[in-house]
């Protein structure tokens, strides 16, 4: 246990505080989904939680008949729209609460029935404790409070959430292949190619977005790839979501982690099998 943990007065003082009745004043009660450890990690880098903020977006598209080298433009745009609406909803709430950013984001993509997709985001809005100009553009991130702490200590700032979405079609397999009658091992090069070009286009979009924010790079990219094989629709969806970051005024700060040799044994797996 780190020595700092024993530094607060302890349980007697804590229980004593509960004996005196609490008088709710004009204080603003902060709401967060942080653990207390994360709360302290934020305080360490000069931020405090304000409120829970959330955003949501839904979009649908035509089931498109796709084959080799068709792009599901409307389809891809619908997915991007759903994520973008959730993202801008979050930023709008940050403005409304005069917050500087959001951390500990819960990001979910939910497939509704058929060709509908809902994207939701929920996180804790934070404010700088010593506020400077105050009218800087609030940042959105998909980072946890811990990663945000590390990022700031490393000399970087989040610029915003960036996304890349692409849907690319591929040719249907031959009748023999799809019936399972083919007896040779062969690469389905059309499908491999579709996946490659979907990746390329999605990452290109993400880079474009990051560039627009003046970012130096993108961290914590989450990828979701889904092949769709329906009667006349053969396509691959590629979704990438990450946090664009830029270097702060002091540049990169080396964290110089200490190597640690843990004395713990590996967890016993006798009963896990």
């Amino acid at each position: 246990m780190s020595p700092a943990l024993s530094s607060a007065p302890g349980i007697e003082a804590a229980l004593a505080a509960l004996r005196s009745p609490f008088v709710p004043g004009d204080q603003t009660t902060f709401i967060s989904d942080l653990t207390v450890g994360e709360l302290v990690l934020l305080e360490e880098i000069g931020y405090r939680p304000v409120d829970i903020v959330s955003g949501a977006g839904t979009a649908s598209w035509n089931p498109q008949f796709t084959t080799s080298a068709t792009e599901g433009n409307m389809w891809g745009r619908a997915i991007a729209t759903a994520i973008d609406h959730a993202r801008s909803g979050i930023v709008e709430e940050l403005h409304r609460r005069r917050a500087d950013g959001v951390v500990a984001m819960r990001f979910e993509l939910e497939r509704e029935r058929a060709n509908l997709l809902t994207c939701t985001m929920l996180g804790t809005a934070v404010q700088r404790i010593s506020r400077g100009s105050g009218d800087e553009h609030p940042f959105a991130t998909t980072l946890s409070a811990r990663d945000f702490h590390l990022l700031v200590r490393g000399g970087y700032r989040p610029s915003g959430i960036v996304i890349g979405v692409s849907v690319v079609g591929f040719a249907a397999r031959s009748a023999a292949q799809s019936l399972g009658l083919a007896r040779d091992n062969a690469e389905l090069s059309d499908q491999t190619t579709a996946l490659y070009s979907a990746r390329e286009q999605a990452m290109e979009m993400m880079e474009r977005e990051a560039q627009g924010l003046g970012a130096d790079g993108v961290v914590e990219v989450q990828l979701q790839e889904r092949p769709v094989n329906a009667l006349l629709t053969h396509a691959v969806e590629f979704i990438a979501v990450g946090t664009a970051v830029h270097r702060g005024p002091k540049g990169h700060q080396a964290l110089a982690p200490e190597f640690q040799l843990t004395l713990d044994d590996q967890p016993d797996t006798t009963f896990d099998r």
Binding site: A4, A8, I11, T29, I52, S60, P63, G89, P257
Partner: protein, 318 residues
């Protein structure tokens, strides 16, 4: 609802010996031979490091008939599919058919005045259902606290709240609150034991960092959704959809507001909030968009904790 106010929860008569209110089935005052807990070994160790010892596993439960309109026939909650009435003017929005059938007196289907709708949709806040759920949690939490008081505890850590459609049929829900009561040996009793949904280790951090849990805060929001054609996934009207995200956002906002209102009365802030978004199917294609938020309201009892400046470490073996 205020979980930490001593008078909320069950209506226990002062002279009751083992009943919850006028229900006498609950053997609260049985002789406890040893302490029980649902703490892991590491949690138990963390609680002991703080200076508390486990006093016993405690639980509160309540089976509720949920408020619903009409006969208890359809849907998971019962009710004929519409939202519970009498909620008192909350949020509502209509989402007419996204096809333009109504234009020009109805081309295509129908052709009646105003046109026929393919699927007419609406969102209505269901404040009655939200109140039902809140009441269920309030009872369960109150009974948990009564049990904790009974075993002379100063608090309860690791409180889990859940609800299920376990007992009974449609239109009912079973609420549970359970956790481990802890006490400070030799300490004078508190007016009401503290409650937290934080684990033993997180509780240890709270105390060490100068915060004390004051109580559990619960917020519930509910919006009844009758999807229009677009929200059903009708592929002839693609595009950006407002109905589903609005339902989610309003349910979350209501949960947030009631959580905040409750937390404001007992502490300075809320940590460890667990958010649950749930879709509860009702009649046919409609559903209740439900948000439940449970957190721990905290007070700062000391500002003596020095800056931590946590050291980055890199374990050589995971």
């Amino acid at each position: 609802m205020v979980a930490s106010a001593p008078d909320s929860g069950s209506a226990r008569p002062a002279d009751a010996d083992g009943g919850i209110g006028d229900l006498a089935f609950h053997p609260v005052s049985r002789e406890r031979r040893t302490w029980t807990s649902d703490l892991s070994v590491a949690e138990a160790a963390a609680v002991r490091r703080v200076g508390l010892v486990p006093a016993g596993f405690v639980m509160g439960t309540a089976v509720m008939q949920l408020a619903a309109t009409g006969g208890q026939v359809f849907g998971q909650w019962g009710g004929l599919g519409g939202p519970s009435v009498g909620g008192g003017g909350g949020y509502s929005e209509s989402y007419p058919c996204a096809h333009s059938y109504a234009i020009g007196g109805g081309i295509g289907f129908g052709g009646t005045a105003g046109g026929a709708a393919e699927h007419y949709g609406f969102n209505i806040e269901d404040a009655v259902l939200a109140a039902s759920l809140t009441e269920g949690y309030r009872l369960a939490i109150g009974r948990l606290r009564d049990e904790a008081t009974e075993v002379g505890a100063h608090g309860v850590v690791g409180v889990d709240l859940l609800f299920e459609n376990l007992v009974g049929s449609t239109g009912t829900a079973t609420f549970f609150a359970r956790g481990t009561a802890v006490k400070h040996p030799g300490g004078a009793p508190l007016p009401s034991p503290f409650l937290t949904n934080a684990s033993g280790q997180h509780f240890e951090r709270l105390i060490a960092l100068g915060y004390v849990p004051a109580g559990i805060a619960v917020g519930v929001g509910s919006v009844y959704v009758q999807p229009n054609c677009q929200s059903r996934g009708d592929f002839t009207v693609p595009g950006s959809n407002q109905q589903i995200p609005r339902a989610i956002l309003v349910a979350r906002a209501r949960a947030r507001d009631s959580l905040a209102a409750m937390a404001h009365r007992v502490g300075e802030g809320v940590v460890h909030t667990e958010w649950t978004d749930r879709r509860v199917n009702r009649y046919a294609e409609s559903w209740d968009q439900l948000t439940v938020a449970v957190g721990t309201s905290v007070r700062r009892y000391s500002t003596e904790a020095p800056p931590l400046d946590p050291r980055p470490v890199l374990p050589l073996r995971p």
